[in-house]
């Protein structure tokens, strides 16, 4: 068991959970056992994820920003790179949100099931409704106001003010950059230490992930199906639609957004770009880690696309940590899918909040293995979607992770090409000759 990679373990846990859930459905006594003794394990897992969310955001963002600043001061290239990163990220989330609104994978579940789910996860539905009522009387800029904490310690004690924590961490990071190095040194190393500790904790939590997922899945099946096993299948059907939505979104990024970017802002052809970067994409697909793929990405971008080393060695490592188009698209779709499945209506401002949280949260946490799930918790908490809904999307997580890493890498590479091209650091004919090598 120990030798198996984590993803496989999770997948096994989930499948077992599914099977156990379906089996236990046959007898009420066993169902009761699942609810009483298996479900808490899943709840503990979710709680552990939530527990680490605030420290992770705080520490990793402060460190993340403090490190960005180091480089961004170097040149205006830094500013340009960050600008393009932000723009592509926003575009990808927007695509995700639009698609999920059109396809509505969550509504593939029958009405009745959705109501069930909602009651299951959200004990205070009325609370949610009244919150929505509040929203209407507020001014249009209220989301902006709500982003600013009026007491940072209060914000950190409330998971639903995650965006305030993100905002605070960003400002601390910026301020940290501007104070003299020696007075910031202790703080920086303190947060570095905290960050390492938090990452270690995330790893521990991920070690129990297979069991947590098993428990979540088994109890989900038991609770949702009641005495009708076919409902469990409906759930899987909805998941299929959800996965398709994510994949379509990724596909759109690959065949529409990046080609447009390459075509209008660089001097090489998209086909050449595609040919040149393909090995890195494949590696990203199989490792689902942009950091692990980084050496290959750099090699392809420099030797086969003709981007100068000066640009690639700056843009790509930075991109691997903060630019995650695929991931943010995925988070947008997932958050809305869970909301749809639970029958929650999300207002425009909540969706905007998803965009903001997903974008900002991406800044610091990319390098952390398993952080994707914590970040999803962060996004869900920020808009008040019950976190236990994560159980729903565990099944296709592995395969989607592979695809989104591919998109992340392609995104980084295309930004590198665009930056190099507009800075005049790209030889236009080089790619044609070497792309396919």
């Amino acid at each position: 068991m120990k030798r198996l990679p984590l993803h496989t373990q999770i997948l096994i846990g989930m499948t077992l959970g599914l099977i156990v859930g379906l089996v236990c459905l046959q007898s009420p006594a066993l169902s009761g056992f699942i609810i009483d003794f298996i479900k808490p394990i899943g709840t503990i897992f979710i709680r552990a994820l939530k527990m680490i969310a605030v420290p992770l955001v705080l520490a990793s963002l402060i460190i993340g920003v403090a490190n960005i600043g180091d480089i961004s001061k170097l040149s205006r290239m830094g500013g340009k790179t960050l600008g393009i990163f932000v723009i592509t990220t926003v575009i990808s989330i927007t695509i995700g949100l639009t698609l999920v609104a059109i396809v509505e994978p969550g509504y593939q579940l029958p009405e009745e099931t959705r109501t069930n789910l909602m009651q299951l996860y959200d004990s205070n539905v009325e609370n949610q409704v009244s919150k929505a009522g509040d929203f209407k009387t507020r001014g249009p800029l209220q989301p902006l106001v709500d982003m600013v904490p009026d007491n940072i310690f209060k914000a950190t004690t409330d998971n639903s003010s995650m965006l305030q924590v993100v905002f605070f961490a960003l400002i601390v990071g910026i301020a940290l950059l501007q104070i003299p190095k020696e007075s910031g040194a202790t703080v920086l190393s303190f947060f570095n230490g905290i960050n390492d500790v938090v990452i270690k904790i995330v790893q521990y939590i991920m070690m129990i992930a297979p069991y947590g997922v098993f428990a979540l899945m088994a109890s989900l099946i038991v609770e949702i199906a009641g005495d009708d096993p076919s409902k469990a299948l409906e759930l899987l059907y909805a998941l299929l639609w959800y996965s398709i939505t994510v994949i379509i979104g990724m596909f759109l990024m690959m065949v529409a957004i990046y080609p447009i970017l390459i075509k209008y802002f660089s001097s090489i052809k998209y086909m050449d770009f595609f040919k040149g970067i393909r090995p890195a994409m494949l590696l990203g697909f199989s490792t689902s880690s942009s950091t692990a793929t980084l050496p290959v990405t750099m090699d392809r971008v420099e030797k086969h696309l003709g981007v100068s080393e000066e640009v690639s060695s700056f843009v790509l490592p930075l991109g691997a940590t903060i630019n995650m188009n695929g991931t943010s698209l995925y988070q947008g779709v997932t958050a809305i899918f869970i909301a749809q499945a639970l029958g929650l209506e999300l207002s425009l401002s909540s969706q905007l909040m998803i965009v903001l949280t997903a974008t900002l949260a991406a800044v610091g946490t990319a390098g952390v293995p398993g952080a994707g799930m914590v970040m999803l918790v962060v996004v869900l908490e920020a808009v008040g979607i019950p976190t236990a809904g994560i159980a729903l999307i565990m099944a296709p997580e592995r395969i989607l992770d592979m695809i989104r890493t591919m998109v992340n890498i392609t995104g980084d590479a295309s930004v590198a090409v665009v930056v190099a091209s507009t800075e005049g650091k790209l030889d236009p004919d080089y790619a044609k000759a070497h792309a396919a090598d």
Binding site: P140, V145, V148, N151, I174, Q178, I179, V187
Partner: protein, 469 residues
Amino acid sequence: MKKMPLHFKILIGLVLGVVWAFLSSSLGWNEFTINWIDPFGTIFIRLLKFIAVPLVLFSIISGVSGLSDVSRLGRLGGKTLLAYMLTTVLAVTVGLTMVNVFKPGTYMDEEQRIKNRLTFEIWLEDNNMGIAKDGRSFLSDPQYEQYLTDAQKGRELSEAEKQDLEEKMKTAQMQKEASPLQFIVDMVPENIIFSISNNQLMLQVIFFAIFFGITIILIPNDKAAPVINFIDGVNAIFLKMVDLVMKAAPFFVFALLAGIVAKMADSPGEVIELFLGLGSYALTLIGGLLFVIFVLYPLVLKIFVPKLTYKEFFRNMSPAQFLAFSTSSSAATLPVTMECVEDNMGVPKTVSSFVLPIGATINMDGTSLHQAVAVIFMAQLHMVDLTIGQQLIIVLTASLASIGAAAVPSAGLIMMIIVLQSVGLNPAWVAIIFPIDRPLDMLRTVVNVSGDATVSTLIAKSEGELQKY
């Protein structure tokens, strides 16, 4: 534009904000102002507030741990409290003098005042409080009988006003019933994380920070060093944040003022009308507050710090003063006050980080002055003569209440209820001055903040640590 000093830019923002508010309300753009401009004012206040608590926490710890020996802290603390007490008494005295000289309450129509008096006596009777303290009884005087029916109707309060008032009375009651030492009890936090996550519990944060700072001094140096480094670093970060926020201050102040004025009334006419009704009161109060800012504090400083010129004092302090005016919150202004006092006035951090946060919570010269003027104005309005003794009670209650009520939100009005009750007047009268409380609050806060700054400068001087002057 870049070369212009910050306080000048803030002033421009302030003036533009008011101009914009009047312009927009006369053009019917009030909704736009409230929807799209006012939120930035709110953001500004929130920014300052969230900086304030950590800044207080870390700067006190860093200040206290920087002291050479603990006994100095006791001396510093004693001096600080004494100085705050004295400035408060001075401010209240100014208020009392002004209100007794100008008698703003007597400008109103004589008949109306008689009716007011009769209403008051009816209220006294209803509450079994005996006759008015000045011993006169208009009710039993036949010459006033004709006004009686009108008076019985009394002043009708709206439902919302009544509710609001009731709540405030309850708080005031609790405040009064508590033991006189309650405020010391309240200073000790039960859970420090809870205290720092609540903006209203600043005194508890101060207590914890001082305690923490003293402890740092007492543990071995090598163990304390990393903690001190960390805290100094965090402190520097928060100070930098203040800098960053202040860069945008002129714009924020513009938004803040535009929003305040736009919310106050639908048309500029209404604003002016509000003021005219209570004009004599507002003028007296404003006069008193301005006197304290422009004469009293500079004078005190002149005596003790002769080298500091009048102009320099204001050049040093004006960013904080403008900010106090536009936010009407001394806590929100605190980060900037600290910066002004340290960077411009040259007060060492060990003094300012200790004196200012305490001042922001307990020293309310402007508020106490306001209490005195308002209470006596209302008494005059109701033809109640207050003896010197009663007026002294007012001074005392106002000064003490300003310390005790520090942790209470909208402390000003609650304090006033306590003060009114202490001299046997009807606490419901606070409703009279409700309408123009907000704009006057702005000026009061300027006095509060200037008072804090003045005291911290004095303390630094008395410690011989004011290098600059």
